[in-house]
């Protein structure tokens, strides 16, 4: 059952990627990329990365779609005909894709105990987390306790992004107290 599920999900991803490439109606493109994120979230669950799946479903399928649709309201929903020649980009994409596929040949299998990802710091965190922090979810322990600095940095990035968007496209409210009727 499980391998068939993977095959179905992965083929759906490929079909949607090709559909996104071929479509000229940007609303449909946004909807398809939202669906892509949703299927991707399903794949993360299959890979036992529930925290990532959660984020993918909430951010990728949810908020990003709404923000892209809001952007489409401003810029219109038809994609313009490309004016450049498609051959050079196609060549670049083909070479990059071939390099990536070549790279997957040496990738360790999923769940391989000898994979570098399982050998490096992961055993340390898995062994030490109950003793060091007493937090049951190791992902949260790494995110908040061991890598608290990084997370503070991430929050600062989000803060900066919000300020940036506001300065670029927002109309800041005037800080005057309005009279109540």
């Amino acid at each position: 059952m499980a391998p068939y599920l993977d095959i179905v999900l992965l083929s759906l991803l490929v079909v949607m990627a090709i559909a996104i490439l071929r479509m000229r109606n940007l609303v449909a493109v946004v909807m398809f990329s939202s669906l892509y994120s949703l299927v991707m979230a399903g794949l993360w669950v299959r890979l036992d990365a529930v925290d990532v799946a959660f984020t993918e479903a909430a951010v990728g399928a949810g908020i990003t779609t709404v923000l892209l649709l809001a952007a489409l309201v401003l810029i219109g929903t038809r994609e313009k005909k490309p004016i450049h020649n498609p051959w050079l980009p196609l060549l670049v994409v083909t070479i990059t894709g071939a390099a990536l596929i070549h790279g997957t040949v040496d990738t360790p299998l999923f769940g391989d105990i000898n994979a570098p990802a399982q050998q490096h710091v992961a055993p340390y965190y898995l062994e030490r987390t109950p003793h060091d922090t007493g937090v049951p979810n190791v992902v949260t322990a790494v995110l908040a306790s061991y890598r608290g600095y990084d997370t503070l940095g991430e929050v600062t990035v989000i803060f900066t992004a919000g300020i940036g968007v506001l300065l670029l496209i927002g109309r800041l409210p005037r800080w005057r107290r309005r009279k109540r009727p």
Partner: protein, 140 residues
Amino acid sequence: MKDYLILRVISKLLIPVIMLFGLYTQMHGDYGPGGGFQAGVIFASAFVLYTLVFDPETAMRVLGWRTLLLLVPIGVLIFALTGVASLILGGNFLEYGVFGHGEHGLAHGNHIGILAIEFGVGITVASVVVTIFYAFAQRR
């Protein structure tokens, strides 16, 4: 979209559930999947739904620019001040163990510290998402 009765009724039913789920995700980050980032986005999506179904003016009467723009830095401050508090209590920056005491002090302190910083993360993420959405909604 004020004329769509079904959308209005259903979203009025859904919004409290979405917010409750956001709060659950917020509080539950150290036991299961979730945490401040996801909770913030889920909580913000309730506001986005409200803004979509009713109009931005109504939404801004619920959560105005003034409050929203105050919340954005408050989240970051909560996170950073948690670190400062752990410094004052004699630990390292963001070392949560110092918040607890007694037999299970380490685990207890970590729970307090993680709840505090996740709260900060959630506030900033939620208010930034709503801010960006409001900024777009205002341009129409």
